[in-house]
Amino acid sequence: MIYPVVEVRGLVNRFGDQLVHDGLDMEVRAHEVFGIVGGSGAGKSVLLRTILGLRRPQAGAVRIEGLDITRLTDEQLYAVKARYGVTFQHGALFSALTVLQNVQLPMIEHLRLTPTELDELAMLKIRLVGLAPEAARKFPAQLSGGMIKRAALARAMALDPMLLLLDEPTAGLDPIGAAAFDELLVHLQRELDLTVVMITHDLDTIFRTCNRVGVIVDRRMESDTLEGIVNHPNPWIRAYFRGERATRRGLRARRAT
């Protein structure tokens, strides 16, 4: 039996009186790029935190490769965590460590490597995301916004995960930087056969990278292929993808492909 890589069923998340998710379902299949879209405060980051096991939902199941992470013991969860890589919205690089040490930290935690191997592999990951070798010795505070996003991606790739979870990977980047990041992501995804789940607001990124899109509307998720979601009957989704900004970009993207 082949499980979906990520499967969320009947998820309920509540903060006090505020219901964020009410019976949300989501399914991410192997080797696809799945975009999560939603209005501000719709609970995209909460959903990601729930998938990561950082937040225990009030109800529902979150399965990663068939394992319900809301029911796992710490040891089992530890093994699951080695299978995915995460980037956070603002990078969340460890500010006391250099880029190289940031990339090495998950490796030290999960793998048994000699110091030379550790350096070589971490350096490889840094080169892989398009950072110059000099950047490896820098601290996060010395990096530009685009370099932080790349360094965070390098750390997420440290353990050669099969699943990447990215929270707004191109937010705050200029259009050229964002396009370069998208290109890098698509390239890595193809070459390494990754499954990618990303939260994004950037319509360009969605049209360039995603195979399928899930939109959080009214505390649930509507997901479909890119073509399907653009023609979705829900008025909010229509406004999102067929608004003035969207059609201009979407048409251009369509024409380009």
Binding site: A82, A92, L93, S95, P106
Partner: protein, 397 residues
């Protein structure tokens, strides 16, 4: 000039001029106060000569129109009303005075928030007839529940920490020796100069104070007892702990707190690293090692300070000071002070790391909780010291 009035039979014509801007509100109000709009069935406002109008100016104009309408005048504009005024009407959600001339506009605004009088000034708070007796009771209840919640959180922190600490002891790989070494350096070695200086100064103050008083009885020799026992039992360890609470308690809270704000703690969890294991346990162990060592340094410097003062103020030879000190210090004197150090270290490290872990959301929280960490660390140290004093007295040390 701002506004000029001209009466023609039934009609009052108001010509606006100059800059109606927020910076000129005082002069504008003076001009408006001098204006007489009474007994004018028809008011025509001509904004054509206005050099500029901002929203504050438009707000004054709106009030003028409202006042005129309330007084029974019919107000209209010569030409189109200024767009700023139209914008205000749009924002407030109703067609106000400008769009519908002549209609009474006073009181037609959107409902004002509570505690605001209709003219926009804050109402005097706590007027007796408005006094809401439910509010203070609800506040007490809310605070009580918050305290319970806080206690539960604190217990949760201690419980989780104990489990992770025990696990780390069983599996030494989880003890993070490099991290512990770094914290010993940060909290201990770098604190030596300030701890030594304070210990020196305090022992001099105590010795000087003692010398002055004991001279009346010709008992200067007891200055030595005062300084040595005072330093070893109480002052050395207590002052060191207070300095460390200010230095390292705040640093712990701020470091961990900023990692919380930067999502670094979440990143640790997502990687599969237990944040308590890498952030809290090494800090506690580091401080438990560093504070007793600092205490020894403070004791030595304190005794040396006493010796120097006795030599120069009381002309007491150093050998005599040492002999007397040797007699004054009992077997337990040093240990009574020294054994308090690890306890103080644990209290300081717990207060700092706990408050740091609590930081959520905003940098204002970070500042607040850092302050809380220091205040609580110092409070806990002094409270523990008092308990120790009672305990030692009971067991006769």
């Amino acid at each position: 000039m701002y506004i000029a009035a001209e009466r023609r039979a039934e009609e009052l014509r108001l010509t606006l001029s100059d800059h109606w801007r927020a910076g000129a509100l005082v002069q504008l109000d003076a001009a408006l106060a001098a204006l007489d709009i009474a007994n004018a069935p028809q008011i025509v406002i001509d904004p054509a000569a206005l050099s500029s109008l901002d929203l504050a100016g438009a707000w004054r104009l709106r009030k003028l129109i409202a006042a005129a309408s309330a007084a029974g005048s019919r107000v209209r504009f010569a030409g189109t009303p200024p767009p700023q005024l139209t914008l205000i009407d749009e924002v407030l959600g109703q067609p106000g005075s400008a769009a519908a001339p002549g209609r009474p506009a006073a009181g037609a605004d959107a409902p004002l928030p509570q505690h605001m009088k209709p003219d926009g000034t804050a109402a005097a708070p706590l007027v007796l007839e408005d006094f809401d007796f439910e509010e203070p009771v609800a506040a007490i209840g809310k605070k009580t529940l918050e305290r319970f919640h806080e206690t539960a959180l604190g217990l949760g922190f201690l419980g989780r920490l104990s489990i992770i600490f025990l696990r780390a002891l069983l599996r030494p790989r989880h003890l993070r020796p490099t991290s512990i070494a770094r914290h010993i350096y940060d909290t201990g070695i770098t604190a030596i100069p300030i701890v030594a200086l304070i210990a020196f100064l305090i022992s001099i103050i105590v010795a000087y104070l003692g010398a002055q008083q004991l001279q009346y009885f010709g008992a200067e020799i007891f200055v030595v007892d005062l300084v040595t026992i005072g330093t070893l039992r109480e002052l050395g360890v207590l002052l060191t702990a207070i300095i460390v609470a200010g230095r390292s308690g705040s640093a712990f809270a701020a470091e961990i707190g900023s990692m919380q704000l930067n999502e670094e703690v979440d990143a640790l969890k997502a990687i599969g690293v237990e944040p308590y294991e890498v952030l809290v346990v090494p800090r506690i162990i580091g401080l438990v090692v560093a504070l007793p060592l600092l205490t020894v340094i403070a004791d030595v410097i304190g005794l040396a300070g006493g010796a120097i003062l006795c030599r120069f103020l009381l002309d007491m030879p150093v050998t005599q000071y040492l002999t007397r000190a040797n007699d004054a210090i009992g077997n337990a004197t040093f240990w009574v002070g020294f054994m308090k150090a690890p306890v103080f270290a644990i209290l300081i490290a717990l207060a700092g790391t706990y408050r740091g872990m609590q930081v959520q959301g905003s940098s204002r929280e970070l500042g607040r909780l850092t302050t809380t960490a220091v205040v609580q660390a110092i409070f806990l140290v002094i409270l523990a010291d008092a308990l120790f004093a009672v305990l030692f007295m009971e067991i006769g040390l």
